[in-house]
Amino acid sequence: MTAILESYSQLAIYSAMAVYTLAFIAFTLDLAKRTSAVQVVAAVPAVRVGVLTRAGGTATLEREPEVAAPVVPPTPRSSPFERVAFSLTVVAWLLHVAGTVLRGVAAHRVPWANMFEFSLTASAIIVTVFIFVQLWQNLRFLGAYITGFALIVLGVGTVNFYVPVVPLPPALQSYWLVIHVFVATLGTAFFAIAGGLSIAQLMQVRREAGKFAAVKFMATLPTAERLENLAYRVVLVGFVFWTFTLIAGSIWAEHAWGRYWGWDTKEVWTFIIWTIFAGYIHARATRGWRGTRSAWLSLIGFGAVMFNFTIVNLFFKGLHSYSGL
């Protein structure tokens, strides 16, 4: 039974990868297409004054016609490529989630107990957050970044980290595995999206300075300042999850190893990441550190998250030897 479920899981994951590839191509085409649709940004009107008049039985508040409408950042109409790309992403995501859940069912536990499963789950959650964050803000311009990222994680995961289903060693038999790792992954997803926004911000800064004129699609993206604000808000959510990860991890460490903090390599890196993002939040409040500098901090932070997940898991010695390899 386990073997059959596992093969279904793998089939779903491979299919998801195929569809992600198509989505990635479509997102890239969308960005390329955007070059032609560069439009002018509306100027900011000075003061808005409305007027109150009586209409029928009720007095109605009406805006004076000669005053400009409120400033809404220009939202370019989505191109057909973008719509196709997003639909493909949702299809791939469904397959991806199905494959990940099946892996969990096959193993009779949560599917995040070794590097392979962690790759499946982490990339699935990153795409989940990407899809649902659209309800809040249209961030589809990050589609190529996110699907490309998910493809790399899934590719490396299935090729380099694959292990068959094995039971959990006693040290991992704890509900803290469920909580701690899941929240860490959520945090990672938000940091990943913030990383994409910060990259876009850095490119936008260069374009706004006239240095990057060749990359025309950047003109269809929000301004650097807006990208920075978005990145900041996404990092904040990630930071809260990461703080919780740190605390939940300490509680688990206390149960499993008898101390809540022992500077184990994995703990060290979790701490480093937390400190970098605390620095990022400070940078945003420090004169002279807003803008490009804080964007670099966000990227360094996300780089540390990736380092923690890959290099530290694979090559650093420590108590967290759960790569399963």
Binding site: V51, L52, A59, G258, V268, W269, H282, A285, R287, G318
Partner: protein
Amino acid sequence: MSRPSDHFDSPAPAPRSEINQPKLGIVGYLRFFWRQLTSMRVALLLLLLLAIAAVPGSLFPQRAADPNGVVQYFSANPTSAPILDKFQLFDVYTSIWFSAIYLLLFISLIGCVVPRATHHYKALRSRPPRTPVHLERLASFAAYDLPAGETDAAGNPFTPASVVEAARAVLRKSRYRVQLFDGRELSVSAERGYARETGNLVFHIAMIGILIAVGVGGSIGYTGQKVVVVGQAFVNVRSAFDSFNPGRLFTDDFLQPYRLVLNSFSATYEEKNLNAIGEATDYTADMTSYGPDGKGVKQVLKVNYPLEIGGNQIYLLGNGYAPKVTVKDSAGKVVFTDSVPCLPQDANLTSVCIIKVPDAVKQLGMVGFFYPTASNLSTGALASVHPALGNPTLTLRVYQGDLGINKGVPKSVYALNTDGMKEIVGPDVSTHSIDLTPGKTATLPGGNGTITFDNVSPPSTKANDLTKSVPRYVSLDIHSDPTQGWVLFFAICVVAGLLTSLFIPRRRVWVKVIERADGGLRLEYAGLARGEDPGLEAAVADLARRHSRQLGLKLSS
């Protein structure tokens, strides 16, 4: 705001001319350094520095976490290791430089938080500030004209007082703290989100709390290790520990009396999943604890589920086999009989056993390998192929001479120094090895008597069932960390403070009523963010909408 002067929200510094700087006295310099230390920029740099300083601790083995790793590093890199050690790279987290960074950071933190806390305390008790004269200069602004002669639902004409009163009611309902001002125009000034600053202060103060709690806990707590073989007991006195690391302020009075007996230990290994045969799936230790009243209480100890006894937490950290060995001298007198805990070397519990027999006529030392399920490799060497007792085998090399334990220098029970000893069984002498299975006895060469690998199976066991023939042991970690609860408390404060400070917007809004020359009224709405506030624009628009509704007007645009 009493935030550091280089905070983004603080007013920009006045340009200073370098030439006319007055000379700073000592006090001036101190004040200058204090100002620097408590600035946002230095706090930020210290945070980043702390992140960087933590990195080497993950690159080099650390004495506190991995003492064996340090020993190995020294023998692998005999030239570079002492130099690295000079820079405290094997004790990064207690090093002078790491401590200096975090202590500076926390001094900076205190210097930053104290003035902010006093300032905030005053702000909490004061009223919202006077309405600015030019609201239209603020970032979020909206204005509406109410023509002369309009009446409210009851037919009364609108007056500045009634309009402002309505605004006050709306703001009150939205939990703003409000204040009416009657200057040139009638206006209401409102502020909300004090909890943002409160949360921020709670967050930063809780960080200080964590540091103090960790520091105190480390100096009055202790950690100790103890190996207990099935059937044996641990008594909570200092001399009973195999190793004991007390904090600086620890005294033996902190140890509470109790005794803990290991009744049995069971390990379960995977048998069905072909990818994981022999992998451990469960370890359970059945124990009985005896408090000062002498009453026994049954306890179950598992990985991830520590016991709480006498202010201690007791953890199941490791386990292994402790073969029982009896050595008799040539006259048949027992000179040694004990269960010897052996250190596991791999997942199939191939284990190294060190046996020291100090009471023989000539002292004996043995280095053994224990294989729970021994199997011959193609090379002829033995290996264990399963961690359970399938074919338990003990092989021994034996040395004779001075064990070096009479000089009173403490020696590790897990290491044998063979410098002053002569090999009597081993590859270099005529008897290559002694191989024993449970219940078997071998003769030691040179008239040194015999050695028996005792079978400890219960009497009712069938003769060919060896699954209980070798005792198991557990290694316990025994901790006392009296401030652990405090650390958790502050950690919860950190999260709570973080959530409030990051997601509650702090803003001021104003509603002003201006009487126009034609007798109509002009309603002005404006908002000002304090700190990050992406929703300010929407909040001002919402205020205008709710205010007009309160006035009995409907908003259409």
